[in-house]
């Protein structure tokens, strides 16, 4: 039965939860398909994650391999294909707890970077799992900065082979998933040398393990890189190459080819390849970043209406902790951010689909803008959501610290997203470079891409709000965000120019402004996120209370951003001290309003108990009973050798000998 404290929260919802779920899924039909996939996977005990918190690294890895193999079978039985509508829900239903994710990256890189002949040779083998692929780019000494990679591939015209080497320890491949134990092949990125000349980084298919007995191939040293904060189920690996010879045909050669005589030929435009890399940054947002935040909000908010602590009114029952303003102030902005980023993700997906169509028509005009948006939003969303999950964790007090709450593993998993696919600071600086360029162009009257036209229309007004209610007007706060973004970009551009004019070298000037540049890039993304949320709300149907509650969340998202960064808005007097007090008042009022719908708002995310895998966040709110029963299954409650070995001698007067 449902805990009455949680049941009562659901009775007062101001909107239809089912309709909101459908909105998040992109339609009721999508909801139906998703639920069918989730149901099929969760009813299969092979995919259970119940024991995952008790397992060692070895057990987690083995389970992930077992699940990956079983998944092939199930997909076949269910008639799910990689192009079918079900496919995108499988990963979510498994909560990512499955091996061979890099196998897909391996296949994609061959499809994108390989010649037709290479695709015809390798893709069928990979599809049938005759081989297991990985993708080896990052090295011990080099990550985001690809030109710095040190692995070498020297072309030997005599044998028509490339000779691959790891010339020093920092050049060892390090981190690639599935490579530590599983992969038989990997795409290795190496500096290409022909006749002593370096041609830069190129991709090569290298076999690393025997297809017969899985032993390492000659010249290969490979293994697992050891325990990490999370991803125990993935065998991130290292790879050392010593005079490993591969045939000339193994260099992926859609764009660059080495002829038998050693002639290097470049062909076609790499821009489409570049676009593919950019797309990956956007494609990870939904499953790897938004889902964990939504789960964390679900767990923390449900728990906060079940947990009672201390008294708000003398003589009454202890209060639900969600009734404390400080608890609302921790959790509800995270909830608003989850919705804001969901909608910006929709916006980015649409933009990228459009970009893809343009690029197929050989129109590359949108590329710089898409690149800037994907870099900036990848950084801003991963950072914001990671912080949000940690806030949820700490808002659950002691019990949040138990692995059985589900929150520690959500946190340790999401935080990796701040680093992979481009370190966040570096990505923000790429966005900033685009902003500065566009600002200069706009100032000179040249046309700029749509997302930055606002940089040209600098207005020197003041915030017109006269009462706290004015700050519930999207025009008012959107304009405030715009003002800050313009101010930060223009002042940094001016500072850069000053430095250069005073004789500082261009690259030094850039480094001296990077702290400001990062702030400008964040302000730009924040502005677009607020604007997009407001525009999305405008377009929602007014029925079923959806638009009203989304408007509240939009207001909260915007005002929380101002409240937690008042300096940026007060600077140069755009917002006055008195107006800032209005922002605070409106913001705090909103917390109390959204509080009433908090549980329905997380119910709408529609996570099953199995997918939350949390003693605190289950739908029925039977928190304490579940925590107690689950803890008893812990391996530490089986007989431990520690008593016989250490405790017994200790307790039996070892000390009296002293």
């Amino acid at each position: 039965s449902v805990n009455p404290d949680l049941a009562s929260e659901r009775q007062t919802a101001s909107f239809s939860v089912e309709k909101l779920t459908a909105l998040l899924d992109g339609g009721a039909e999508q909801t139906r398909i998703r639920r069918a996939v989730v149901e099929a996977i969760e009813s299969d005990p092979e995919f259970s994650r119940e024991n995952q918190y008790f397992q060692t690294q070895n057990e987690r890895y083995e389970a992930a391999v077992r699940k990956a193999v079983h998944l092939q079978k199930r997909m076949h039985e269910m008639g799910w294909t990689e192009n079918g509508p079900e496919y995108k829900y499988i990963y979510r239903a498994l909560s990512g707890d499955v091996a061979f994710l890099l196998h897909r990256v391996f296949m994609r890189s061959i499809s994108v970077l390989g010649s037709d002949k290479q695709i015809a040779k390798w893709i069928p083998l990979a599809t049938q799992h005759k081989l297991i692929g990985s993708y080896a780019q990052t090295e011990l000494g080099h990550g985001t900065y690809l030109q710095g990679l040190e692995t070498t591939a020297v072309f030997d015209t005599a044998t028509q082979e490339f000779i691959l080497n790891t010339p020093k320890i920092s050049a060892m491949k390090w981190w690639p998933g599935d490579m530590g134990r599983s992969a038989t092949h990997t795409v290795v990125f190496a500096q290409l040398y022909i006749h002593g000349k370096c041609y830069g980084i190129h991709p090569f298919i290298v076999q690393i393990r025997s297809l017969q007995d899985h032993s390492l191939c000659p010249g290969i040293t490979a293994g697992d890189i050891g325990p990490k904060m999370n991803f125990e189920h993935i065998d991130n690996g290292y790879l050392l190459l010593k005079n490993v010879r591969i045939p000339r045909e193994n260099m992926l050669s859609k764009f660059c080819e080495v002829r038998p005589d050693g002639t290097y030929v470049r062909q076609g435009s790499q821009k489409i390849n570049y676009f593919t890399m950019t797309t990956v940054r956007i494609s990870l947002i939904s499953d790897e970043v938004l889902t964990p935040l939504m789960k964390a909000c679900t767990i923390a908010i449900r728990y906060s209406v079940v947990r009672r602590q201390s008294k708000l009114k003398p003589g009454e029952q202890e209060a639900k902790i969600l009734d404390y303003q400080t608890q609302q102030e921790k959790l509800l902005p995270q909830l608003a951010a989850a919705y804001a980023f969901h909608f910006i993700n929709d916006y980015l997906q649409e933009l990228f689909n459009r970009g893809y169509r343009e690029i197929q028509r050989k129109n590359f005009d949108m590329l710089p803008e898409l690149h800037a948006l994907s870099s900036g939003f990848k950084a801003v969303i991963t950072q914001h959501c990671t912080a949000g999950v940690e806030i949820c964790l700490r808002a659950c007090g002691g019990h949040g610290y138990s692995l059985l709450s589900g929150l520690p593993s959500l946190y340790t998993k999401i935080l990796a997203s701040c680093i992979y696919e481009g370190e966040n600071t570096i990505l923000l600086l790429q966005t900033a470079r685009f902003l500065i360029k566009c600002f200069m162009a706009a100032s000179a009257g040249q046309p700029v891409p749509p997302s930055v036209t606002y940089l040209a229309a600098v207005k020197h007004g003041k915030c017109p709000a006269k009462s706290k209610l004015d700050f519930l007007n999207p025009d008012i706060y959107t304009e405030a965000y715009q003002h800050v973004a313009v101010r930060l970009t223009s002042s940094t551009a001016a500072k850069l120019q000053d430095l250069i004019q005073s004789g500082v070298k261009k690259h030094d000037a850039w480094n001296q402004c990077t702290v400001q540049l990062v702030q400008a890039a964040k302000a730009h993304c924040h502005y677009i996120a607020v604007k997009n949320f407001a525009e999305t709300v405008e377009k929602l149907e007014t029925k079923a209370g959806i638009q009203k509650i989304m408007k509240h969340l939009c207001d909260l998202f915007a005002l929380h951003g101002i409240f937690s960064n008042t300096g940026a808005f007060l600077h140069d007097g755009y917002t006055s001290a008195a107006q800032m007090d209005m922002v605070t008042a409106s913001y705090l009022d909103l917390l109390a309003v959204i509080r009433k719908d908090a549980v329905p708002l997380v119910d709408a995310f529609d996570f099953t108990d199995q997918s939350l895998n949390s003693a605190l966040g289950s739908y029925d709110g039977q928190v304490y009973q579940r925590l107690y029963e689950w803890a008893q299954k812990s391996p530490t409650n089986q007989m431990s050798p520690a008593y016989e070995r250490y405790l017994k001698p200790l307790l039996h007067n070892t000390l009296s000998k002293l």
């Binding site: 918190y53 060692t56 083995e62 391999v65 799992h129 000494g141 990550g143 900065y145 320890i169 390090w174 134990r181 899985h214 032993s215 697992d224 050891g226 325990p227 990490k228 904060m229 065998d235 290292y238 947990r307 009672r308 602590q309 201390s310 708000l312 400080t326 608890q327 921790k330 700490r394 007090g397 610290y401 138990s402 692995l403 935080l415 680093i419 370190e423 570096i426 030094d508 001296q512 990077t514 702290v515 400001q516 990062v518 008042t566 300096g567 007060l570 600077h571 140069d572 001290a577 009973q625 803890a631 812990s634 530490t636 050798p641 405790l647 307790l651 007067n653 070892t654 000390l655 002293l658």
Partner: protein
């Protein structure tokens, strides 16, 4: 691996320092003699083969518990063998043995024994203390319940007195009343001090402490009526068997209630305790430890991140030149140096609280407790302020190490998971901030009613004066000198005053149109937390600044002054809105502050490695491949990885179990 020389980058960094790191180490330790003694104890532990073991990162939780309990028992014996009895020296010994991690006897040594000393009658001490001292009895302290943490009055466990048998009957009446979390309870302890609601003669007399045997001496099996076990895996604290305890009509003799203060007579008559002000002292002491721990944990993370940033080269700053050390990037300095400054600031705050506590403790014996309420209120806030900041700071350090920071070989994940519960235990941080706020509101009310307040809140006295001279605040803006720490202390003072006043006024406004005082308090609590934070921030800047004058060596004073300025200015930059809104600084001044922060980054850069060397963490204690003193990071990452459990066999068993059959079928 063969002995390796120090990485050339780190050698260069150390040669370029403008001060002697040992001198700064002495200041952190409290004098050269303390440093010498600390290193002596460190050597005692690190050279002892009994305390060696495999890297804990490769062990399962059960194995880690086993190692910890093995080391703990040896530790207790060796402490006595060496005659180490000073609390601080015991603390050092323990943290070298366990490398900064918790251990299963923590609660026995830190709570069970001290509670016996302070709350047991002489007769009870005779029965329990020596057996506990000799570890025949291992005890824990069972307060927190599954449904109740910081709010003690809500605890549900009952102890009902039965005069016919002269026993207390202990019960866990609900699931929420099960004792949950106490360290050492799960597997280690055979006794627990249990906090329960006392019922006698049909009346509830509130919370009292009882000594409860939970496991059979000899077999270690749970006693009838006792259900006890481990609460399962956690984020960190793998070494600790945090436990649960459920009691069903479990009877203990009347003499097992700790009766130094309150008593239950054989017929069930309840005798009330005298004043409980003394318990303030213990809380202040424990919070001072957490402040110190915030400083140490952040220092460890900074040591790792800064040394690694000097070793790691990436990308290019100048076209055509070799890849620079990542510590040369402004964004990297901006992440790390303010945290380095914060670590130093918190060291000095921790030392201040400890000294003040010892001073007041001297006064307590003379009966002067007048300073205790303020110190109690202040330490609540500082505990929260420093642990929140350090918690976030450790994560920033980890992020600043990129992908390798995510590997457990970096050591930072472990520092984080070990440290983060201090935001919750010994008083949840938000609740702590609100305790400080209560004191601030009380002080504010005193000032407005014409009384003077003293101590750290004395700046509130100025508020009434400012109201008479409205131009006063405006006049203040031009007087802030951003190069002068003393002047910045004044700016922080004004900010705190403004936020305290604003919270007080909002609270007043809520009170004027709401019936319930608690409701009004709740609706102001976000403001109140902000006010407390501003107050704590002011105290930290003030204490750091005051420390500078005590430093004799000019070179060390110069580098600490840079750090102090960075700490203060970075705080202004991050909270610019508060200073702008209150009119303490103008937009132009904020721009100058931002600029000066960046200039200070460049000033501190040459001393960065020497400043973390001064923390003087031994490599074994640091537990980090990235933060090694010799900087030979990559070679040792490879050595470390080879020991990973997944690498035990050349071909993993899952190949035969799963992969091969699948490939055969396709």
């Amino acid at each position: 691996a063969a002995a390796m020389s120090v990485n050339a980058d780190l050698r260069r960094e150390r040669a370029a320092a403008t001060f002697q790191p040992e001198l700064l180490t002495h200041i952190l330790d409290g004098g050269p003699e303390r440093t010498r003694r600390r290193k002596e104890i460190e050597a005692l532990v690190l050279n002892d083969p009994d305390f060696q073991h495999e890297d804990l990162n490769f062990l399962s939780r059960s194995q880690r518990y086993e190692q910890a309990i093995r080391k703990s028992s040896l530790m207790v014996m060796k402490l006595r063998e060496y005659g180490i009895a000073d609390p601080e020296e015991i603390y050092w010994f323990k943290s070298f043995v366990h490398r900064g991690r918790p251990e299963p006897l923590d609660l026995h040594l830190g709570m069970f024994l001290p509670t016996l000393l302070t709350q047991a009658t002489p007769e009870q001490q005779d029965r329990f203390f020596m057996p506990a001292w000799n570890l025949e009895i291992i005890g824990t302290y069972a307060q927190t319940e599954m449904g109740h943490g910081t709010h003690l009055r809500g605890l549900e466990t009952t102890a009902t007195y039965d005069p016919s048998t002269q026993e207390f009957i202990l019960n866990s009446p609900t699931v929420t009343s099960i004792k949950w979390w106490p360290g050492g309870l799960g597997k280690t302890s055979n006794h627990a001090i249990v906090l329960a609601q006392l019922y006698t003669q049909g009346q509830c007399k509130g919370l009292h402490a009882f000594i409860v045997p939970i496991r059979q001496l000899g077999t270690h099996e749970p006693l009838p009526g006792i259900t006890v076990g481990d609460i399962g895996p956690k984020f960190g604290y793998d070494e600790m068997d945090n436990g649960y305890l459920k009691m069903d009509n479990f009877r203990i003799p009347r003499e097992n209630m700790l009766m130094k203060y309150a008593q239950v007579e054989p017929d069930g008559t309840y005798v009330k305790p005298v004043s409980d002000k003394l318990t303030y002292g213990t809380m202040v002491f424990i919070r001072s430890l957490i402040v110190g721990d915030s400083a140490r944990s952040l220092s460890r993370a900074c040591t790792i991140a800064i040394r690694y940033s000097a070793v790691r080269h990436q990308s290019e700053l100048k076209p055509g030149e070799p890849e620079p050390q990542i510590l040369d990037y402004q964004t990297q300095q901006y992440k790390l140096f303010p945290l380095l400054a914060t670590a130093y600031a918190f060291h000095f705050v921790g030392a201040y609280i400890k000294d003040t506590y010892h001073r007041i403790n001297g006064d307590i014996s003379k009966g002067d407790l007048s300073e205790l309420p303020e110190l109690h209120a202040l330490t609540a806030g500082l505990k929260a302020f420093t642990s929140w900041t350090a918690n976030a700071g450790i994560e920033e350090c980890r992020m600043a190490c990129g992908g390798h920071g995510y590997s457990r070989c970096s050591g930072i994940p472990d520092i984080y998971v070990t440290f983060t519960p201090s935001c919750t235990y010994e008083g949840e941080n938000t609740v702590m901030m609100l305790q400080t706020a209560r004191f601030l509101m009380k002080s504010y009310t005193q000032v407005t009613s014409g009384q003077q307040v003293s101590g750290m809140v004395s700046y509130l006295n100025d508020l009434s004066r400012q109201r008479i001279q409205p131009q006063h605040v405006a006049a203040r803006t031009v007087t802030v000198r951003i190069n002068d720490p003393t002047s910045l202390v004044e700016a922080y003072k004004s900010r705190a005053a403004r936020l305290v006043e604003s919270a007080a006024k909002n609270l007043q406004a809520e009170l004027s149109h709401r019936k319930s005082k608690e409701d009004a308090w709740n609706r102001t609590s976000v403001d109140l937390v902000r006010a407390s934070e501003a107050h704590c921030h002011y105290v930290v800047v003030k204490l750091f600044t005051a420390k500078l004058a005590e430093v004799g060596d000019a070179a060390v004073r110069a580098v600490l002054t840079d750090l102090c300025l960075l700490y203060a200015l970075f705080g202004i930059s991050r909270n610019a809105g508060d200073f702008l809104q209150a009119g303490i600084l103008t937009s132009a001044q904020i721009t100058q502050v931002n600029q000066h922060v960046k200039e200070l980054l460049a000033v501190i850069r040459p001393n960065a490695v020497a400043l973390v060397d001064s923390f003087d963490f031994h490599d074994v204690h640091l537990g980090s491949v990235l933060g090694r003193y010799d900087g030979n990071v990559y070679e040792n990452m490879f050595e470390w990885a080879k020991k990973s459990p997944l690498n035990k066999t050349q071909v993993h068993e899952s190949f035969h179990k799963h992969l091969k059959p699948m490939q055969a079928k396709l």
